[in-house]
Symmetry: C2
Subunit: 284 residues, 2 copies
């Protein structure tokens, strides 16, 4: 029998906006810590090469790297050195001065997929990033079928569904969640949405968030790994740099059955959803 | 200025399978309690006229009522008496011996909408109910714009979205959640999904569940009313017959803004979702 278990790490890293070399060092250190703890898949935050709080598009352009730049190349090397899959976010320099809020899935052989965030958050969309127009990639890796999307993308259940329907067993999400207050005793709503995304699709979800404060922006630091029933396998460590590790059995995500006669995907009524979308948007 | 606040009750009722008269009495009592507490909208459980654990289709057919039967007619009377909107589930006798797992929205003037559950749970789909094929109705009432869907429907974010895009400010959900164990200290996943449904759409959601045990089936009793940020306004009272009351300001649900430049509906990329559905299903 094939072993379907996999150890996953979500690395909650403190980054320094604008300091590419320092960020590579911080990420290298988190990746090593995760590898030492037995991780086979390592998830890094959104925009992990650059940080997030850019002064303007000029600063962002000066920092963005091509997919074969130093940051992603180093992740490929580290994936080889530690026998890992690494999923991480980075500011990607595209053609024509465009910049994308991207994420890659890499292993020792190189970049398996590069995805560009389709749902942009706040000022990202005003003057910084070009939105992606491709669906979230889902790729077969040595340890299982892995999908990727970035931060605010996760808040669109339709988007999560596309990855799940493509067979993602583990959805990896680099995020930068700004800190918003939650009522006393309540789990952050971003984490609740991750739980629902996982349970709705019977799919594991690993989110890697930021730690610390950056140019006045405090980050939630809500990194979490959630099982296919929608329950967290890791403990929240809000705001603190930390590596969150969980051992998953991906076989759970291959079984979409939730009762004798129910299957979370087969029970969908896509023809009705299409019809409703058409009515709402006049799209065909 | 128009008052946009509304007091809502989710009634967690213990029902007796097969005893229509006893169930009408229990519902009447819960409705009165809710009205006395100031409720303007009262949500009742799924299949509130009949109970749930039918021995077979014969028993179900013998209990099902038309939409103008005794149960719904009594709700219309009580809506008039107490000046309420009532949303409740009932086994609906259709034409040709078909039975639907339906829910109505009623006020003093009569039935404003009747919806037939589109996503059937377990044995419901084997030999008991015919699935509905209409989208969830959303109607303007004296107190705000109200949508309705039933139990397992809620677990399909696409379905929740149709109601939200139709402008539902409050989604009312008659449910019968079977009891499944959750890990120690975790909120039931059904409630997590309600929270995510609300937050994803900035819409209030009120779910009314069952209490007690019925022919060996234990019910979760997870009735909850959740605000447009996705946080519960009521306290869970798992398994116990109880009326849950919350005062909502529906203005919160009219504002879909979550940052300077983000709007949970306007930020959708429906053309990409369409494309992904087409690829997954070959549907056009």
């Amino acid at each position: 029998m094939t072993d379907t278990t996999v150890t996953v790490a979500s690395c909650q890293v403190a980054l320094a906006v604008g300091d590419l070399a320092a960020n590579r060092r911080s990420l290298r250190s988190a990746i090593s810590e995760a590898a030492d703890a037995g991780a086979q898949v390592v998830v890094l935050p959104e925009l992990a090469n650059t940080g997030y709080m850019f002064a303007d598009i000029g600063e962002l352009r000066s920092l963005a790297e091509p997919v074969d730049g130093l940051t992603v190349s180093e992740w490929v090397s580290l994936a080889g050195e530690h026998n890992l899959i690494i999923v991480g976010g980075f500011a990607e320099a595209g053609a024509d001065c465009e910049v994308f809020n991207s994420a890659v899935i890499v292993d020792a052989s190189g970049v398996l997929a590069c995805y560009r965030k389709a749902h942009l958050w706040n000022t990202e969309k005003a003057d910084l990033f070009t939105p992606g127009s491709g669906t979230p990639p889902v790729v077969d890796t040595a340890v299982g079928r892995i999908g990727v999307m970035v931060c605010y993308d996760l808040e669109f259940p339709e988007w999560v569904r596309t990855a799940a329907l493509e067979g993602a067993e583990l959805l990896c999400c680099p995020v930068n969640w700004p800190l918003y207050p939650a009522p006393e005793g309540e789990r952050p709503i971003e984490v609740i949405k991750v739980q629902a995304a996982a349970a709705t699709n019977r799919m594991f979800v690993a989110a890697a968030d930021r730690a610390g404060i950056e140019r006045g922006q405090d980050w939630l630091g809500g990194s979490v790994i959630v099982d296919a029933d929608g329950f967290p396998l890791t403990t929240l460590d809000l705001g603190v740099a930390s590596v969150h590790i969980a051992k998953l059995d991906l076989a759970d995500a291959r079984n979409k059955t939730i009762s004798e006669l129910n299957d979370v995907h087969a029970d969908r009524r896509p023809e009705l959803y299409f019809e409703a979308e058409r009515r709402a948007h006049g799209t065909t």
